[in-house]
């Protein structure tokens, strides 16, 4: 079965019958998972040559719907019509053959392979030979058409996130699509890269391509979409033309109540230095320099934000400050005491708490019970242990307290952690980390993947810690979050801090430019 050869622009059939029948019709689609009804009787349609936005907070069911449309999941009920005919999408292959493409939220690229290799996998179906030359020509033409500048022979892991995004998009466009699903494509882009993406999307739309653009960011909806469908807790709230709605109205539909889009930052006078970092140099997993001389001071009673596209050293910064990775140069002091080469256990003992960006893989042992996870890292301290032995009663009492205080939705401390929802997992981690009133709290992407309720809870906790006098280092890709919580924002780019801005006076554009490396104020 061969893929039909796409037209020169890499798109499917041009808008032959514009406006007549919708390209995609979703009718009464439902999808249930063991714990949750992810899609509940969803019906909407996407016209030809339209940028259609699927808006909803995390957990609303947008990604599930996207997976259903791409054949990754089968719906439990409902029909999907493409070009007016009912279709069965039982695997991505079916979707691709129909002309549906997808740009995934978490890239599906092969890091050690080149751009060219990543794009052509799965596009040639006959013969043993790899036809690189012809592919390179076509791909080069596509890039030129959209004004994208990519070295086709570069390995993926040498590309920055924005460039990897383009590869993801090119993969879909190369085989020819009529409907392109983009799942949260702007999560890791600088504001400038987002603008460029939108410009290209508009060009694609004008060329006849339809797009289903999935996001939880309201401003993006208004900026680029023609129509928007709002999902909330698995159900469809409303489908409306973008020009007929407003950000406030969308927010209300998305969350179900009035949302305060701006949070008030109370002026605070930060106290003594809690964390002093000087010229820190750290290597990454591939032994390349990831932090190239980072210096800053975090004070008591302040939230210092660290902005930047992921992959610019944030992970290594987090690891070095928490003791999971050893710097090869530079200094780190905690309340005056040097901890540059201290172990993770020592650093935690000194009052540094941390919330990692990957809850499941870095922060928790999912097969452990909730009470066991609540003492992770502190299992040797009293009251959790008596010498070499665990003190079950102490552990149980602590767990009970934490579950109550943090309102963790679990029947008991003995519950296996794996079944908890994302927000509750984050609460377990917070409870664990904040229990000892740390003097320094380092968090990375703390609200990623959480629904609005959980997001607000986490942010409230961070502010409470700040008010208690702790110094909070907030590493985040979410500019809204940084602007609403942080007093100062440090911008990281290629392992260095290229700017330290006052959150009250700085603009998103300024931060965006720094994130993209265009201007350094340091």
């Amino acid at each position: 079965m061969s893929v039909d050869s796409p037209s020169q622009s890499g798109l499917g059939s041009p808008a032959g019958n514009p406006g007549d029948e919708p390209l995609l019709q979703v009718e009464h689609v439902s999808k249930r998972f063991p714990q949750i009804l992810a899609n509940d009787d969803i019906s909407f349609s996407v016209a030809r040559g339209e940028i259609h936005c699927l808006l909803g907070e995390n957990g609303a069911g947008k990604s599930t719907l996207a997976e259903v449309l791409y054949g990754v999941q089968r719906p439990d009920s409902g029909t999907i019509l493409f070009r007016g005919l009912p279709v069965t999408l039982s695997s991505p292959r079916d979707a691709i053959q129909l002309g549906i493409g997808m740009v995934h939220q978490h890239f599906v690229l092969v890091p050690p392979f080149t751009v060219l290799e990543n794009v052509i996998i799965g596009t040639q179906h006959q013969g043993l030979r790899l036809d690189r030359r012809q592919a390179a020509e076509r791909l080069g033409g596509l890039c030129t058409n959209y004004g994208v500048n990519l070295d086709l022979d570069a390995q993926i892991w040498h590309l920055c996130v924005g460039e990897q995004q383009w590869v993801e998009i090119l993969k879909a466009v190369y085989v020819g699509v009529e409907l392109l699903i983009l799942d949260e494509p702007t999560a890791s882009l600088t504001p400038q890269e987002v603008d460029k993406l939108f410009a290209i999307m508009r060009k694609m739309r004008d060329d006849g391509l339809s797009m289903l653009f999935i996001t939880h960011k309201l401003n993006e909806v208004l900026e680029v979409s023609d129509r928007v469908t709002v999902l909330r807790k698995g159900k469809l709230v409303h489908s409306v033309a973008t020009r007929d709605t407003s950000q406030r109205e969308l927010a209300r539909m998305m969350v179900g109540r009035e949302v305060d889009l701006n949070s008030v930052r109370e002026p605070r006078t930060p106290g003594l230095p809690v964390l002093e970092v000087d010229g820190l140099r750290v290597r990454d997993d591939r032994n390349l320099e990831a932090l190239r001389g980072v210096s800053f001071t975090l004070r008591q009673g302040e939230i210092l934000g660290v902005a930047g596209v992921s992959g610019n050293g944030q992970r290594e910064l987090f690891d070095a400050l928490t003791g999971a990775r050893k710097p090869f140069a530079g200094l780190v002091r905690l309340a005056g005491r040097e901890i540059t080469h201290s172990t993770a256990a020592q650093i935690a003992d000194l009052g540094v708490a941390s919330v990692p960006e990957d809850r499941v893989h870095q922060g928790l042992v999912m097969e452990f019970r909730v009470d066991e996870n609540l003492i992770l890292g502190k299992q040797r301290l009293s009251p959790f242990a008596n010498g070499a032995f665990l003190n079950q009663r102490g552990i149980a009492a602590f767990a009970e307290d934490m579950i109550r205080e943090y309102e963790i939705a679990t029947p008991s401390g003995g519950q296996v952690t794996r079944v908890l929802s994302g927000g509750n997992l984050q609460k377990v981690i917070l409870a664990r980390e904040l229990a000892r009133e740390p003097q320094c709290l380092i968090v990375s992407q703390p609200t990623r993947g959480l629904d609005v309720g959980a997001m607000e809870y986490v942010r409230r906790r961070l502010v409470a810690e700040r008010d208690r006098g702790a110094g909070v280092l907030l590493i985040s890709e979410d500019l809204d979050e940084l602007f609403s919580l942080a007093t100062r924002i440090a911008v990281m780019f290629r392992g260095q801090i290229v700017g330290m801005l006052d959150a009250e006076t700085a603009s998103r554009e300024q931060v965006g430019l720094l994130m993209a490396g265009c201007e350094s104020t340091v």
């Binding site: 990604s63 791409y70 990754v72 999941q73 695997s91 991505p92 292959r93 079916d94 979707a95 691709i96 053959q97 997808m102 995934h104 939220q105 978490h106 599906v108 690229l109 092969v110 890091p111 050690p112 392979f113 290799e117 990543n118 996998i121 799965g122 596009t123 040639q124 013969g127 043993l128 030979r129 790899l130 993969k171 990957d358």
Partner: protein, 317 residues
């Protein structure tokens, strides 16, 4: 006089090197293909043993050595099928599955051997004969190289031919690229509409067939008999050589030859009459394998998704 002895010694040493390297090379190249598709197959030691046994048994029953080879390959394919089922379909833990299959294959081989040759010790084991070496015309006449390189078993020629063939396949063909992509990021391939599971099956079964073939070399070419410990750890050594070779065919070839040289020297030294306890010499290959794992720290080409079960429904990152 001493020249002849020296020449004989050296020829014997290097010819032995190539002969001894053969089964390890076969198994290692097969495992390379499987691991390129992301599946760690720890059952190749047991597969080798089963291959050696089934080859021996069928050769004994039918009187044909080549049929024995076919049987060995078939038994390898069956075990590979099971491994693929456990790893690619059921997505069970590959380490545990491989160990379990290893035990199954070894246990079955042992039982069936005892069943078929009830009271046989190695003395009164029925003979099936063995493959003799095949001399390549013309090339085999070259004074020194001819004996070393071109007077070997047919299976040896095959093993060494496999190196460039598999190398070409993996790195220069379309299906090879697809296979290696699975080993790095199976999701990337799945989302392109390619059948990941089918390709993993093919890769694992091929690898196991190679291990079975390697086993048949041991019982039908190298030793000419079967004993329950005929594999002697070679399957594990093959695994180590894939790691040591950093998943590159050329380096794996080098590793297998080096190992073969060391093992061959142990035999040659004995022949010369060197007074070292033979157990020490026998232990050398195993110690060397450990050293190879310690010395070789760069695993820069280890397939990123090696050993990790792939589940389409699980979200990435």
């Amino acid at each position: 006089m001493t020249d002849v002895l020296q020449a004989t010694f050296i020829v014997g040493l290097f010819a032995g090197m190539i002969r001894i390297a053969t089964p390890i090379l076969l198994a290692a190249m097969g495992e390379l293909v499987a691991e390129s598709a992301g599946i760690l197959n720890l059952s190749i030691e047991g597969t080798m043993l089963m291959g050696a046994f089934s080859g021996f048994l069928v050769a004994h029953i039918t009187g044909s050595l080549w049929l024995g080879v076919v049987a060995a390959i078939a038994s390898g394919a069956l075990i590979g099928l099971l491994m693929a089922f456990l790893s690619a379909t059921l997505r069970a833990d590959q380490t545990v599955s491989g160990l379990a299959l290893n035990i199954v294959a070894s246990g079955l081989a042992f039982y069936l051997f005892r069943l078929a040759f009830k009271n046989a010790g190695s003395q009164n084991l029925p003979s099936v004969g063995a493959f003799s070496t095949v001399e390549i015309p013309l090339l085999g006449q070259i004074p020194f190289l001819g004996e070393v390189l071109f007077t070997q078993h047919a299976l040896t020629y095959l093993a060494f031919l496999l190196v460039p063939l598999i190398s070409l396949f993996l790195f220069r063909t379309r299906p090879g690229l697809e296979l290696r992509s699975i080993g790095e990021n199976p999701r990337a391939v799945d989302m392109r509409g390619l059948n990941v599971v089918r390709r993993q099956y093919l890769a694992v079964i091929f690898g196991a067939m190679m291990a079975g073939l390697a086993g048949s070399f041991l019982s039908l070419a190298s030793a000419g008999l079967f004993v329950p410990d005929i594999a002697g750890g070679r399957g594990w050594i093959a695994l180590a050589i894939v790691i040591f070779g950093n998943w590159l065919p050329a380096r794996i070839l080098f590793g297998a030859l080096f190992f073969g040289l060391i093992d061959s020297s142990q035999l040659a030294l004995q022949a010369v009459g060197l007074h070292l306890p033979y157990q020490l010499l026998l232990a050398l290959p195993y110690l060397l394998t450990i050293a190879a794992l310690v010395v070789n720290r760069s695993r820069s080409r280890s397939p990123l998704a090696l050993g990790r079960p792939y589940n389409r429904a699980e979200r990435g990152a």
